[in-house]
């Protein structure tokens, strides 16, 4: 249990100054071939000294919270401590936090500290078992603070000073909320939830959250319509662009339905798709057209962006965005909302917000994957699997699989359209997170990307390399299918960091693209990497 290193203890969270942990490449979990040779992995960098003036480098030197939140003097420190305790009290009160009160209090009360959860956590393992990333580390800190200051129980050995708060704030962003650890806990204790609740305390009480989630995330989405900053006009241009893209790639002239009242389905994609992977929403347009589905997109504010970052750090923002999504659907008078290939958006609107939506807001909502499965298996599309004659593996987005139980539809599709489909190990509900979960995929400030791709995504990269072990030859194109925008964002950064596309011909993308790529009447491959460059 890490005995050979000096052990970081729980009380070290309050250590006056200094960085608790310094990561080095040699400590990290080794990668499988061909990345087992020295020099294959880019080195680690040092945090810039000036960062520590405004940001917290005292945990591991990486910065997730990219707003300057460090107190400047004793006075500000005192206020921060006071407000933190105030927030902790609200976090454990019914009216302020009924949304997660029971799960939180159960998790605080009953952990047996058996540490069975640690070996299930990809971050803890990939880091070379660094104590600060142990699933119970941040939980035990919050538990002791709660026991000591709120519940006033005896025996809580912890000191609350400014460093406790600074480090705990950063530490809440060293967990992807993948909840893999919960599956092995004999008592059902949820360390992921505790990280989630710490984030809420910081955001809802102190206004402290990473900019990509809050300021440029939910706040921007509620104001401008999308966390990408895309306004309705830009969205409509995007639709035009996709129609052209479809024509160019397939020779089909398709009119993408927008704001069509009374359609059966309102399809909402993660707006990031339009900017980074327009082939994915375009593929859905092609498939729905071909299958004769009655559907529409919306160009109304928030109606064209399925994301709901609130689910990662702020219940109020979660509720606001969920309500907006439903309002858009009600105005369009559709029968149901279907969420595109985006994991957290699926979980947020279909699962988590289910107990916020009542009365007339209770509109049916579902993931696009079962629908796509039904279309593919119904033979409405003329598909030739041999067009996908390259190795394909499937990444299971935590939010769709472990947290929503949508496991088989994507597999049934792949078995039909990808003859060289192979599973990663482990997979399904026991998968590993891509490393971009809980907002990480969009958090790129300062050196955080480095931590993500080296630590959080390390286990995923290992799995990918192992899934393709027999076909690693760069002449063979390989495809990691990830039916989730955020997972794709993470895979993009991951493959780029390790140069895996360039060196080993490993590509990534969604599921619908792969379906369209198998369509018989397409002359050119739909997937760009299959197009032979002159």
């Amino acid at each position: 249990m890490g005995d050979k290193h000096t052990i970081i203890r729980i009380k070290d969270i309050s250590k006056l100054g200094g960085q608790l942990v310094k990561l080095s490449l040699t400590d990290l979990m080794p990668l499988p071939p061909p990345y087992d040779k020295p020099g294959m992995e880019p080195p680690m960098t040092e945090p810039k000294p000036e960062w520590s003036k405004s940001y917290v480098t005292e945990l591991d030197g990486y910065i997730a919270i990219d707003i300057p939140w460090k107190p400047k003097n004793k006075d500000e420190e005192g206020k921060l401590i006071e407000k933190f305790l105030e927030g902790l009290r609200k976090l454990t009160s019914k009216s302020d936090n009924w949304t997660f009160l029971q799960p939180l209090l159960l998790a605080l009360e009953y952990c047996a500290k058996c540490q069975n959860c640690a070996e299930a956590c990809p971050i803890y393992i990939a880091s070379g078992r660094k104590e600060i990333y142990r699933p119970t580390y941040r939980s035990e800190i919050l538990r002791r603070l709660y026991n000591k200051y709120i519940a006033k129980k005896p025996g809580a050995d912890i000191e609350l000073n400014i460093y406790t708060i600074l480090r705990l704030g950063e530490l809440a962003y060293r967990c992807t909320l993948c909840r893999r650890c919960v599956q092995v806990c004999p008592l059902g204790i949820d360390n992921g939830l505790i990280a989630h609740e710490i984030r809420k305390l910081f955001a809802q009480e102190l206004g402290i959250a990473p900019k990509p989630l809050h300021e440029r995330g939910t706040m921007l989405q509620l104001k401008a319509g999308s966390s990408t900053g895309m306004n309705p006009k830009a969205f409509l241009n995007m639709v035009k662009y996709m129609e052209d893209l479809i024509y160019e790639k397939t020779g089909k002239r398709i009119k993408i339905p927008v704001d069509e009242k009374g359609a059966d389905i309102l399809l909402i994609h993660n707006a990031g798709e339009y900017l980074s992977w327009p082939e994915n929403p375009a593929a859905y347009a092609i498939i729905f057209e071909e299958a004769g589905i009655s559907w529409t997109l919306s160009s109304e504010l928030v109606g064209y962006d399925a994301v709901n970052y609130g689910v990662w750090y702020d219940d109020v923002q979660l509720a606001r965005i969920a309500l907006r999504h439903v309002e858009v659907a009600r105005k369009l008078d559709v029968k149901k909302i279907v969420i595109g290939e985006c994991g957290h958006a699926t979980k947020a609107l279909i699962v988590v917000a289910d107990r916020i939506l009542q009365g007339e807001y209770r509109i049916p909502r579902e993931s696009v994957l079962p629908l796509l499965r039904d279309i593919v298996l119904s033979n409405k599309l003329n598909l030739d699997p041999s067009k996908n004659n390259f190795p394909v593996t499937l990444h299971d987005p935590c939010n769709i699989v472990r947290l929503a139980g949508i496991v088989q539809p994507q597999r049934e599709i792949l078995r039909r359209i990808a003859p060289l489909f192979r599973e990663m190990e482990p997979h399904g509900v026991y998968n590993y997170c891509c490393g971009g979960g809980s907002g990480f995929a969009i958090m790129t400030s300062m050196n955080f990307t480095e931590w993500r791709v080296k630590v959080a995504s390390r286990m995923k990269f290992k799995q990918i390399l192992e899934a393709f072990r027999d076909v690693i030859d760069p002449k063979i194109p390989k495809y990691v299918c990830a039916p989730c925008s955020n997972c794709k964002g993470e895979l993009r950064d991951l493959l780029m960091h390790y140069n895996a596309t360039k060196f080993y011909n490993i590509h990534y993308g969604g599921l619908a693209e792969l379906v369209v790529n198998a369509m018989v009447d397409l002359k050119e491959p739909y997937l760009d990497f299959l197009i032979k460059k002159e």
Binding site: D96, Q102, G359
Partner: protein, 302 residues
Amino acid sequence: MIYALVFKYTSYISFIIFVIGIAYKWWKWSSMPLHLRWELYPVPHEVLKAEYGGSYLEEVNWWLKGRLVSVFGELKEMFKEMLFIVRIYRSNKRLWLLSYSFHLGIYLILIWFILIFLGAITTTYIGIPIPSMNPWAIFVYYVTIIIGIVGDVLAIVGGLGLLVRRLVSPVLRDYTTIPDYFNLILVLLALMSGLLAWFFDPSFNLAREFMSSLINPLLPPPYLNVITIVHLAIVQIIIAYIPFSKITHFIGKYFTYHKVLWDDEPNMGQLDGKIQELLKLKLFWSDPHIKSGDTWINNASG
């Protein structure tokens, strides 16, 4: 004699505290407000899908299909966990050996309690002495001895192992708080004093006699030796203390699984009333993006 009488009455008191305490704990957890959905798959009550961790959300128009919930699936998973602690078995065999031996021992001791109780009824109310040649009496007599001893030894071995494991590993030591040690040591003291008491009461006749005096208020308690008195005192303290300690994790576990991780009940209108009530609550979070002091519903819709 007077001691024995005192212990007869404190037995009732500690038992009553236990029952009320457990009922209170149960009430406390079950009266918590409805929370947002936060399920985790596999959810064992999903018919046909539990095996691979699937849910009703795998179906198009799932809300039209009716939702089948298999109580049997939940019970199966619950008993697998309770009787074999499979989650630890799968990931940590060494820990499992200790934890399982400890818990199995405790379960056996609970069965021993029931046997002592049955024995007391048999002698007091049915009039069959134990030991005697009556087949039932023979059965109760021997099974009580075997279960009691095996249970106690297993629990002591497992409990000591868990304690040592905590003490030797620097990480575990760091996570263990004084109340954690206190609970484990208290239980171990009860188990070990029980073993000592058994040396003076090898066939548990004294235990049965004491139980007889408990189930018949008119019956005076038997003479108790010092070690039995010490054991009895510790056991009574534990019984009264359990509801206020983490030893009630069996209750916690019920709620974490049934009311959080497996709670995938969609709102088809049946929860509207509860949700409306909760949305009327006021929230006081103070960051300016929240309308502090206003209700959830007003916050969400504005």
